[in-house]
């Protein structure tokens, strides 16, 4: 090691500001938790669909509500992904697969796309997706994401745009 040839002064740490106790022990400013849970199937027979509760808790100032809970179905996740792919500059993560094979009659076995196992797998995939997306600094600028997470209904006729004024 060459440390023996260098004086202690030349490799000493640079002077820094001490962290205040308030900063050290305050809750971190990056708190963001989104759960996709409580799947419920609505309707009867052919017109059934499943939706999930998307519950969000955060202390990020960019989100208007610090706590929100909305119900969303798969097609609305697909809508969000499409909006983000078009408007934001991020590479949007993939959604869990569509249930195409399961929707054909007499195929897949069990309850098809209302099968408990399938719904659980899908729920996990949707949770991963929304956490990845909502944590991305550029996605947080998009109106579609805020509407998806914090408005009770998704208005597909909305005006796309950015949330931040700068």
């Amino acid at each position: 090691m060459s440390t023996s040839t260098q004086s202690a002064a030349s490799i000493q740490r640079l002077q820094h500001k001490r962290q205040t106790l308030e900063d050290a022990y305050s809750p971190p400013a990056n708190f963001l938790e989104i759960d996709v849970c409580n799947p419920e199937t609505h309707g009867v027979n052919k017109d059934r669909y499943t939706d999930y509760e998307v519950r969000m808790r955060t202390n990020l100032p960019v989100f208007r509500l610090k706590e929100s809970s909305v119900r969303r179905r798969y097609s609305e996740f697909e809508w969000l992904r499409g909006e983000l792919e078009r408007d934001s500059k991020i590479v949007v993560p993939k959604l869990p697969g569509k249930a195409l094979r399961l929707q054909l009659p007499f195929r897949g076995g069990g309850d098809g796309r209302f099968d408990d196992e399938f719904i659980e797998e899908r729920r996990r995939g949707l949770e991963d997706f929304i956490n990845k997306v909502a944590g991305h600094p550029l996605a947080q600028n998009e109106k579609c994401l805020h509407m998806f997470l914090q408005e009770q209904t998704v208005d597909r006729g909305y005006v796309p745009g950015k949330v931040r004024t700068t």
């Binding site: 060459s2 030349s10 962290q19 900063d23 050290a24 305050s26 500059k89 550029l138």
Partner: protein, 383 residues
């Protein structure tokens, strides 16, 4: 050498004077093998002997000459070679050699403007070449040697201090103690967190080497991560300072080479990378100049001379931190057309980097590893 019936008529051997006393370094030969060769500096004489050992009773030749050459070889498909240094001496006039002999040569005050370099797409080498001109085929022997270029900068030059960030998400202030480091130096720095609204998993410092060969359409660029050094594991909060202490002597580095003979450049960058929970990378590249310092003995003599001359020592300049922003280059997000995130971002980024080439100091957010197949700007994906 192509005398199929009788084999080579003589063996040539070049021996450089003082090679036992000189510092040695590794030279990468054309064959791919490494050879330890003596190191020379600019202005020094290069002298030695050529041993010619006859394999037959006599050898007729049309002249023996010795050359000192400096060559830049580009490994592109054109494989161009350029001699930037060429000196020649005649060792023997045309005649007949009846016994093995030893011929001496000396090149005085040889200007060696560039340092030897063995890179990915380009090579710069110095060597002695002996040629025995014969009727059918010449006998040729080459002996490489290394050249090092030395530089000296005063210790009191300012370091690098900058504020970088993504608006409302991540603001840091980073500082490196110098902007020019010698090859056995230590990079002492710190990262101060002003705002942390993302979930950082860890932070590392990388040393990048960028080799640029050629100009215009034929130019080739190679970027290599020479070192990766984790400086923080875990999530920081506002007000925390993370120290950096990175010793350069542990890595294979060369001095910064700018526009060597207008053919190639070798530049070094410090890359500060923050990785968040979703494998998104936030990075800021900063060019640093690396140089080779004079050996200890010479440096102490020079320092004493300098101290006796200078009236007062300059105080280290405390720079106000430059304001800059992580640049949202959409190319890093996989979109087709690059566009700046906001006019203000671009203006600040340009304004902050006055001392450095704007093209080379970039900062960006890149998508997580799971989402992109190739990452931009030379980041290597940790698999």
């Amino acid at each position: 050498m192509m005398n199929f019936l009788f084999g080579p008529s003589a063996d040539l051997e070049i021996h450089l004077d003082g090679s036992d006393d000189r510092k040695k370094g590794d030279v990468l030969l054309d064959s791919g093998k490494k050879e330890a060769c003596p190191v020379y500096f600019d202005g020094e004489a290069v002298s030695g002997k050529v041993n010619i050992r006859l394999k037959q009773s006599k050898m007729e030749h049309y002249g023996i000459k010795v050359e000192l050459l400096g060559l830049i070889e580009q490994f592109s498909d054109r494989s161009s070679q350029h001699e930037f240094l060429s000196m020649a001496r005649e060792l023997a006039r045309p005649g007949i050699l009846t016994q093995s002999c030893c011929l001496e040569f000396e090149f005085v005050s040889v200007e060696k403007p560039y340092e030897s370099y063995f890179g990915v797409n380009v090579k710069l080498r110095y060597f002695i070449r002996v040629t025995v001109t014969k009727r059918l085929n010449d006998l040729v022997k080459e002996q490489d040697f290394l050249v090092h270029t030395l530089a000296q900068y005063p210790d009191t030059l300012g370091g690098i201090k900058m504020e970088v960030g993504i608006e409302d998400c991540l603001h840091i202030e980073f500082e490196y103690n110098k902007s020019k480091y010698h090859l056995k130096d230590a990079i002492i720095g710190k990262i101060y967190f002003l705002l942390v609204r993302i979930k950082v998993r860890h932070m590392e410092v990388q040393i990048l080497r960028r080799e640029l060969v050629g100009v215009g359409p034929n130019s080739m660029s190679d970027c290599e991560t020479v070192a990766k050094f984790e400086i923080m594991d875990g999530a920081p909060v506002k007000g925390e300072t993370i120290p950096i202490r990175l010793f350069l002597s542990g890595y294979e580095l060369t001095p910064t080479m700018r526009d060597v003979n207008k053919r190639f450049s070798v530049r070094y960058f410090l890359n500060l990378v923050l990785i968040d929970e979703e494998d998104r990378r936030y990075f800021k590249q900063q060019e640093v100049t690396l140089f080779r310092r004079r050996p200890n003995r010479h440096r102490r003599i020079a320092q004493e001379q300098h101290q006796s001359q200078s009236a007062d020592t300059a105080q280290p300049v405390h720079q106000q931190p430059d304001r800059s922003y992580f640049h949202h280059r959409s190319a890093h997000f996989g979109a087709k057309s690059p566009a700046a995130a906001s006019g203000r971002t671009a203006a600040n980024a340009d304004g902050a980097n006055t001392a450095n080439n704007n093209d080379d100091n970039e900062a960006a957010v890149s998508p997580g590893n799971s989402d992109n197949s190739s990452s931009q700007s030379g980041e290597s994906n940790d698999q």
